[in-house]
Symmetry: C2
Subunit: 560 residues, 2 copies
């Protein structure tokens, strides 16, 4: 491995290409390519907002990747969050080699592959922090970092052209719950021996200071346990297993029985307990169905639903639609999570339902019952100071976060680092010659409809938005073989507001449709597609002019 | 006017009924009714989120109001924000008497009525703080309050059963820009002489302390003016005329020319200047088209678009699609507003575009360039202490805000106030007898499609959501008069993802549809509606089972 300080001007090419996560929060995916070796760091997905109706999952477009490198030598998963592992089933067909990840990460991704009918078999390779594996011309070294889910790593990619460091998601938790701190020495050693490029998480660049340890939530939660006279319900991400451990420990201290509710919490705690990431004293946990046998003040419940997901356990509890768990005025509901932007309205609705039941709300956005898993500005600066890279690329964030991280990096590193502000699809060429952005590959967001099926194209999405905003009108017209209208055309609508003007128009529409066909030229009449398009355009115009509306008009012209 | 301290047990009824704003932010509307006198305080609207496709405006359902009181004696508008005036055109047909408001409020609502083809004529009656007018059996007294828009009032409603105080939106701005402070003495006098019930704004109940004066943004904005080496673009609500005045004053101090961009800013500043609420020194303002004649460092621009509205001036500027205004790396864009929940993603997109142009961002959520127009917890407590009402009803907010305001009020007022935690539609009976909630009227949200037209019903909305999520399939089947299938059925789809399974299914669907009709019983065959429903249900089932999809199936069965 060479980390020569003078970059040769010719020789093989080292390219790094972000496929996702540089320009948005989510769908993190970074390609590192040197000759025949192509390593993908993370294969993440993101969840669509209501502006993408009928879309279940968003992942990076993979065509550009496939064209650029053909096959992948290996995939590295830095940790088990959806925005780092959720696209693996879609990447799978491109992969020739192993998927590297820690035991917890692989335990979370395995069932996802099986759901897609893929057999992970011996392709999932467990690694531990400190391990180094060879992948083609590169060596992959895993470094412990701390985050909101256990068992996270950063990765140092030792390439023939120099060392790249990918931080994954991290914060400097100096008192981690599992006693596994971020390996600050190893980052320092790498920095000392020379790092060609650092790729750093930008999520919390806009927050000043240090984020603080996961343990910082203990006093806030302990206060809830100390004062609650009824049931305590803690809503958290089901992957926040440190947080769940803290609730477990407080349940023991305060003599409450523990209930897990919601599929995600049940699945993840089962996995975490099996792998030693969750320590549950015997006799502490009871089933949901046993809750009736205890006083409310003897119960703490950990649930899904901190983001207001309508079918999550908390949402059902809040509207008294849960089989075993209800809410009474003495109960306390703790939102031990931040609100992901876009989820605020949904969370507000659940909070309102909780307030309607008279229960007390403790909101992680206002009370010290939540702490972020991402380092704040001072931590991101510290990483830059430790690694002292020759090049720095901010990753993980919307563009303004990357831009701010770039500005901060320029201040921290002085002149010795070249900051490259890249976006998804940019080809970051780190060798030969000085690092720069050189060209782009095709990229974008693939909108998946149904977790194991097809992509929602731009046309389909446009049609859906049109249908949602204005509804659909289907005029049905029978014509004879020689193009004459037979009988009286029929009209069906869905999703359309029928007011006086629209109603009157719909009454005259069949006759109008017949007129349009009668008035059509002979060329249009013999070409059914042209005739349909002509009728569509004419009726759409009539709707716009006479009723001020723009429904999707879908004429059916039937030859009989 | 009697304000007897012992409520009589019999006699006429004084009812207060919130139609909107108690259970949501927006569409504020409160009915006060005594015998034949029915006064509506505010007639507000709210804007729909993406979960309401094709809906342009949300207002309270008015049927319950119409049933309850028949006609309205008068409407009072406390100030000119949409969530207090936006529903007036829809209330108009119920109104026999005048609409009371300050000059600015009426100047903002007038064009709205005209847009709806209504003639305000002499029905809009200007009032000033300190005025009292008679409306049926009540007297309406207007009291100056301070808020983010000028010319705001609270209203004291002197009824035969006692005085009601409605705060409107307010904060205790002790140094208001226009020198018109909240009339703290009048609230105190009313409190001293006895108030039957206070209806108080709850918007900022979750914020501790005092909100602070509108002037508090001056140092933050002044710093931007002092350091900016390029153009300054300030995005603000077009109704935030105090804020715009501050920018005007800073432009004068720092020797920059002023440009207004965006329809709302142009309209509102024209009105405000005419009414004396905005003072623009001669020669300060230039047109957008004149911008090219000045250096960037000599320009400050006030625009619409602080909420990321895609067609607002700022959104167009940010993507370099504005005819006269562009962005360069030295420019500064100030978001001098808070992000309304639900708008964060859209605002983020605009901020990203600004960052892409290299301009600097100053975000009102992080920098001291924005201050709220609503009082924080200590101000809301102060209002309770001043007015010392016999009853208190929290208003303006989602349920958890009302509940928190109720809790705070119970602490502040000790035992002397009865707190009534009401929601939209609750009948708050304040006489005869002790105040209590007694029954409900029909209420809800009317979803308006097109600003002057029809209501989007629950069915239409359900269909739109279905269309948006899954698309539509239209199988067209011709049958003879005796119910036999003629020719080959046709199928049209829109908004549907066609993958391998769906594609295969669509190929066989025509034959399947024909089979379903052939297999239908004779009863179904002679009833076209029953036959269509039967086909719909069968094909929907086939889609679900064979392709795992749930499109809206809209069969057209045509008798020929």
């Amino acid at each position: 491995m060479s980390t020569s300080s003078i970059a040769p001007e010719t020789g093989p090419v080292l390219d790094v290409i972000p496929l996702g996560g540089l320009g948005e929060f989510g769908m993190n995916m970074l390609l590192v390519a040197w000759e025949d070796t192509a390593i993908l760091i993370d294969a993440g997905a993101m969840f669509p907002g209501p502006e993408l109706p009928g879309v279940d999952l968003v992942i990076p477009h993979l065509e550009g990747l496939a064209e650029r490198v053909g096959r992948l030598t290996a995939v590295v998963l830095t940790h088990g969050h959806e925005d780092h592992i959720g696209a693996l089933p879609y990447v799978w067909p491109l992969l020739d080699g192993p998927v590297y990840g820690t035991p917890l990460t692989l335990a979370l991704v395995g069932p996802k592959l099986e759901e897609h009918g893929l057999n992970p078999a011996d392709r999932l390779c467990e690694i531990a922090p400190g391990d180094t594996v060879t992948a083609g011309a590169m060596e992959l070294e895993f470094i412990r970092v701390t985050h909101s889910i256990p068992d996270c790593v950063a990765v140092a990619i030792h390439t023939p052209a120099g060392v790249l460091v990918h931080t994954g998601d991290y914060k400097f938790d100096q008192t981690p719950l599992d006693g596994e701190p971020l390996d600050v020495q190893r980052f320092a050693e790498l920095g000392r021996s020379g790092v060609l490029a650092l790729f750093g998480d930008s999520t919390n660049i806009e927050r000043p200071g240090f984020t603080g340890s996961e343990r910082d939530v203990v006093p806030g939660l302990d206060e809830v346990f100390s004062h609650a006279t009824g049931k305590i319900v803690v809503a958290a991400f089901s992957s926040s297993l440190h947080r769940i451990q803290i609730v477990v420990d407080l349940a023991v201290q305060h003599g409450r029985k523990l209930v897990f509710a919601g599929r995600g919490v049940l699945q993840n705690t089962e996995i975490a307990e099996r792998l030693g990431h969750l320590r549950l004293p015997a006799g502490l946990r009871i089933r949901e169905s046993e809750i009736g046998g205890y006083a409310a003040r003897d119960i703490v419940c950990v649930t899904t639903g901190s983001q207001g997901e309508p079918r999550a356990a908390l949402s059902r509890i809040a509207v008294d639609d849960h089989r075993h768990i209800g809410l009474e005025p003495d109960d306390v509901v703790v939102f031990s999570a931040r609100a992901i932007p876009g989820n605020r309205r949904a969370i507000g609705r659940v909070m309102d339902q909780v307030a309607r039941r008279g229960a007390q709300l403790v909101d992680g956005e206002r009370s010290p019952v939540h702490v972020s898993g991402h380092g704040s500005a001072e931590e991101l600066k510290l990483m830059l100071s430790l690694v002292k890279p020759r090049h720095f690329v901010p990753m993980h964030g919307e563009y303004r976060y990357l831009a701010e991280h770039a500005r901060v990096a320029a201040r921290v590193t002085g002149g010795h680092t070249t900051v490259l502000l890249a976006e998804d699809g940019d080809v970051i060429r780190l060798a030969p010659g000085p690092g720069r952005i050189e060209g782009r590959i095709a990229t974008g967001r693939a909108l998946m409809d149904g977790t194991r099926s097809a992509e929602v194209g731009a046309d389909v999405l446009r049609q859906r938005r049109h249908l949602a905003a204005d509804g659909v009108v289907v005029p049905v017209i029978a014509v004879s073989r020689d193009g004459l209208v037979e009988g009286i055309p029929d009209v069906v609508t869905r999703g359309m507001v029928i007011d006086a003007r629209t109603g009157a128009l719909l009454e005259t529409l069949p006759a109008m449709a017949a007129d349009v066909i009668r008035a059509a030229g002979p060329d249009q009449r013999i070409d059914p597609a042209a005739l349909t398009e002509h009728v569509r355009r004419e009726l759409q115009r009539v709707f716009r002019k006479q009723a001020g509306r723009r429904p999707l008009v879908l004429p059916v012209i039937m030859e009989i």
